[in-house]
């Protein structure tokens, strides 16, 4: 009975985090992007500096009609948002935010593999949406999504493998337990590769070729309306939370902080995640979209060699120590 209660509470907390953090990041994006462009951003919803803008957006999306195009493959079209969103919820379950046993939704032995595997499934949602919409732009968006995923999954895996090698384990809390501060400069290349590839996997600018609105409207999500569209958007922001959290855990030392981890571990994790999320927004504002061939070139000729070099470096240092 106690166990069941414990599991239920954990699931509830993770679910709440899953619903709240993406909204917080979305709101931050509204405001940060606005100020980086000399604007104010939303100011009305909720009264104080438009804090409830995304809540208002959610209400708006819920009220809209859910349209399925006549030529679409109904069932797959309707299933796609769930396939896109659920993996991020699952991934959030295993990211540890503190050193104690209770600070993680569920400890998984092969944490890195779980996380990367499940996130790869999320892209399937975009592919399904792109194909089932019966729209040429959607199909193009789906194609670009697939090409991008294939290109960036590899450097991401290699960079994560480097950390796993350094720590000698593939479990996320295990990696954090083995973390030392000098891993930061040691794994910095891997961190950059991982973060960049993660951005590309989320299709965030400057890697947003699959949803390039000036050429293919909104890629795979063109035909979606109402709540299903909102789910895709939520998936994107949940993805930011997950990528930033993962980078924090794998490369930035998670709960380790300058003042010790006692009691403050969750704070350090959240702080690092928030800073990374800010960087994600910052990059979006600063850089223009990359072309498809530039995307592929970056992945295959820059990121993968860098990741391999990082693995070699990790191996050498590991042997020397």
């Amino acid at each position: 009975m106690n166990d069941a209660l414990d599991v239920a509470v954990r699931l509830l907390i993770v679910f709440a985090v899953f619903l709240v953090l993406p909204l917080v990041i979305g709101q931050t994006e509204h405001k940060v992007m606005a100020h980086m462009q000399g604007r104010l951003g939303p100011m009305y919803a909720g009264g104080f500096h438009g804090w409830a803008q995304l809540v208002a957006d959610g209400v708006k999306f819920a009220q809209k009609e859910d349209v399925v195009p006549a030529g679409a493959d109904r069932r797959i079209f309707q299933l796609a948002p769930a396939v896109a969103l659920l993996p991020y919820l699952l991934v959030l379950l295993v990211i540890p935010i503190g050193p104690s046993e209770g600070a993680v939704g569920q400890v998984i032995d092969a944490g890195i593999f779980f996380v990367l595997a499940v996130m790869g499934v999320g892209v399937l949602g975009s592919l399904m949406a792109g194909w089932a919409s019966a729209n040429k732009f959607s199909l193009l968006g789906g194609l670009r999504t697939a090409a991008q995923l294939l290109a960036y999954e590899l450097p991401m895996l290699l960079a994560a493998a480097s950390v796993a090698m350094a720590a000698g384990t593939v479990s996320l809390p295990g990696i954090l337990n083995a973390f030392e501060w000098w891993w930061l400069p040691w794994q910095i290349v891997g961190a950059l590769v991982f973060f960049t590839a993660g951005l590309a996997e989320l299709q965030r600018p400057p890697f947003d070729m699959p949803v390039a609105d000036s050429e293919i409207i909104f890629g795979a999500y063109t035909e979606y309306t109402g709540l299903r569209f909102a789910l895709f958007l939520l998936a994107e922001y949940a993805g930011i939370v997950v990528i930033c959290g993962l980078t924090t855990v794998l490369f930035l030392g998670g709960w380790h902080g300058p003042m010790g981890a006692d009691g403050l571990g969750w704070f350090w994790t959240l702080l690092k995640t928030a800073v990374l999320a800010f960087v994600v927004i910052w990059l979006r504002v600063s850089y223009p979209r990359m072309r498809e061939d530039q995307l592929q070139r970056l992945a295959w000729t820059t990121l993968i060699p860098l990741a391999l070099a990082q693995i070699a470096l990790t191996g050498v240092v590991k042997v020397v120590i």
């Binding site: 940060v32 100020h35 462009q37 000399g38 104010l40 910052w282 600063s286 850089y287």
Partner: protein, 214 residues
């Protein structure tokens, strides 16, 4: 190219970060009214006391958006045995702002200073027919017409002021001549040409007595 690879990328990031720390330029319009320059073309106000129904504005309007109705009234002769005077009385003066293209020709051609630009711009309607505004509304907008901006430092003085000053100087000279009949009249001012500005509309009479420019 740049000496350090990636310095361009860093520069881009620096630009956005610097912009974030600066003050925003957003105009929070409904909460804060915009600061409009004095010659803003917001709406056309009618100073109907000056209107003589000469119809110049209606004829010159490229859009034909000014509607004027009037009738003639005769007034009894001023002196006994004189002619009866007839004068035009304005019945209707309306501007259809759904047609108006804000060229300002009517204001330029008005010979009696009866039309003015006002910076007022919040007169949107939900029905296009309600954009035809009658003379009482146009008269109300007169109150929003700002005083004309001060002249440039070296500009010629307005001709009304020049004329008034000339007559005042003549008067002073005549007085001086009568008091001490020795000196000839002073050199006088430069010949006044038509000044570009218009008289202050808010005050009914031309400001003859006021001192001119700085």
């Amino acid at each position: 190219m740049s000496p350090i690879p990636g310095s361009g990328l860093a520069k881009g990031l620096a630009v956005t970060l610097r912009t974030m720390t600066k003050k925003t330029v957003t105009a929070q319009y409904p909460d804060a009214q915009p600061e409009l320059p004095p010659r803003t073309r917001g709406v056309i106000g009618l100073f109907e006391e000056n209107c003589t129904v000469c119809m110049l504005c209606a004829r010159e309007c490229p859009d034909w958006c000014i509607y004027i109705d009037s009738h003639k009234e005769t007034t009894p002769p001023a002196a006994p045995g004189g002619r009866e005077r007839s004068r035009n009385v304005l019945d209707r003066f309306a501007i259809d702002f759904s047609l108006c293209m804000y060229c300002g020709i009517c204001i330029e051609v008005c010979p009696f200073d009866a039309l003015f630009w006002s910076p007022e711009f919040e007169y949107a309607e939900t029905d296009i027919r309600e954009l035809t505004h009658e003379r009482d509304k146009l008269r109300e907008w007169m109150w929003t017409v700002p005083a004309p901006p001060a002249l440039d430092p070296a500009a010629e003085e307005p001709k009304e002021i020049a004329a008034a000053r000339k007559s005042a100087e003549k008067l002073a000279a005549a007085r001086a001549a009568s008091a001490a009949p020795a000196e000839p009249a002073p050199g006088g001012t430069a010949p006044a040409e038509p000044a570009p500005g218009k008289a202050t509309p808010g005050e009914a009479a031309p400001p003859a007595g006021e001192g001119g420019q700085a």
